[in-house]
Symmetry: C2
Subunit: 221 residues, 2 copies
């Protein structure tokens, strides 16, 4: 069985886990905190980051490389479907959530509300949280705009952009970084994802010592 | 003809331009500075970043989406060749240079040595430059390590990882961020790239008011 090195609030591990579930693949989870620089992780991935997936000596690091690998080797539920132009739009939006949303929302929330609470035991910076909150609002507006025009993020079919977005949003939501009020299109889309048996199990996991808000794993939020 | 919105020191635009040249495609360049938030750029790419490429109403944003699009639509010189496992390694290393090298080396150099010099007219932070310099040294060591084992970065064939790495390194080198002494494998590999007619023209371009060091476009450096 594939072994995935990850931790519960790693958004890129969530993207890979959601992809694996959609593709119908079982995986053994290895709990791994990159900031502790565990030797096992560095031996598998010199970048020192989660996720890394391994099986019988084959090692794949980087969520984009991992998701493309399973997209190319498992036909079930294509996540990069359609024409090259449609795939370009899926990849553009996947990159939007992997990099822009992560840098502006998820990363500051992880730093201020997870790392400081659990590791350095210091208070979060209010100014950083305010900036992340404004960015989150902008991203939810953009989600609304897209979902008023399309059933799924990059078009008529569920795909990798939805997976990447759900992964980032679910971590931001766990860390109380999203205000869903006034974002009906985004809320309806996220509610549909939350009810999926391929995504739902992720919402049951907890980072020890850091509980999520009450609405976090509820379908009605 | 495709129109590419870019600026001379945008490493992701360089990655796209090198890819287009390798694929044998001509492109019209549109000079575009993202930090000035030009309306034309925002209309094409809500993320507000270069590169964006457009032709007859088709718009593709994000260097990864653009490179995959041309890889899928132009057969000449495959940049993601081989087995799914070999492609995973190419994608891992492409992500390494696109994200890790960029965050640790190119982005701080662009901020301290380009943006502050040309726009805010303030002095660069010495501590930031020292950190970037240490990171650059680590990345050159990693390049050496890879190139002692492989002809090209991700294996026996030239591919997208070489393109992505050359794009980042050339911008870092323009900004005097690389010390090549003691990095023979990396230097030989980069020298081979510098001599390619598909890459060489990029090295002739200048950012106005910001000259590169003398060795920058020389094959012997």
């Amino acid at each position: 069985m594939w072994r995935l090195h990850q931790f519960p609030l790693c958004p890129f591990s969530r993207k890979v886990r959601f992809t694996l579930a959609v593709k119908g693949l079982a995986v053994e989870l290895v709990h791994c905190l990159p900031w502790e620089k565990p030797e096992g992780l560095l031996a598998l991935n010199p970048a020192g980051q989660t996720p890394v997936i391994a099986l019988d000596g084959l090692v794949i690091a980087d969520s984009s490389a991992i998701c493309h690998y399973f997209e190319e080797t498992v036909e079930r539920v294509p996540l990069l479907a359609g024409t090259p132009e449609e795939r370009a739009e899926t990849r553009r939006l996947t990159a939007w959530f992997d990099h822009k949303f992560y840098a502006e929302v998820t990363a500051p929330l992880l730093s201020e509300r997870m790392y400081k609470r659990l590791y350095t035991r210091t208070a979060p910076e209010a100014a950083t949280l305010r900036t992340a909150s404004r960015a989150a609002e902008m991203h939810l507006d953009y989600l609304d705009w897209l979902l008023e025009r399309r059933r799924w993020l990059s078009g008529s079919a569920f795909g990798l952009a939805d997976v990447a977005a759900a992964a980032q949003l679910s971590v931001a939501d766990y860390l109380s970084g999203l205000q869903w009020d006034g974002h009906e299109p985004a809320r309806i889309w996220y509610s549909a994802l939350k009810s999926r048996p391929t995504f739902r199990p992720l919402l049951g996991e907890r980072m020890e010592g850091l509980p999520p808000p009450d609405h976090y794993d509820k379908l009605d939020f």
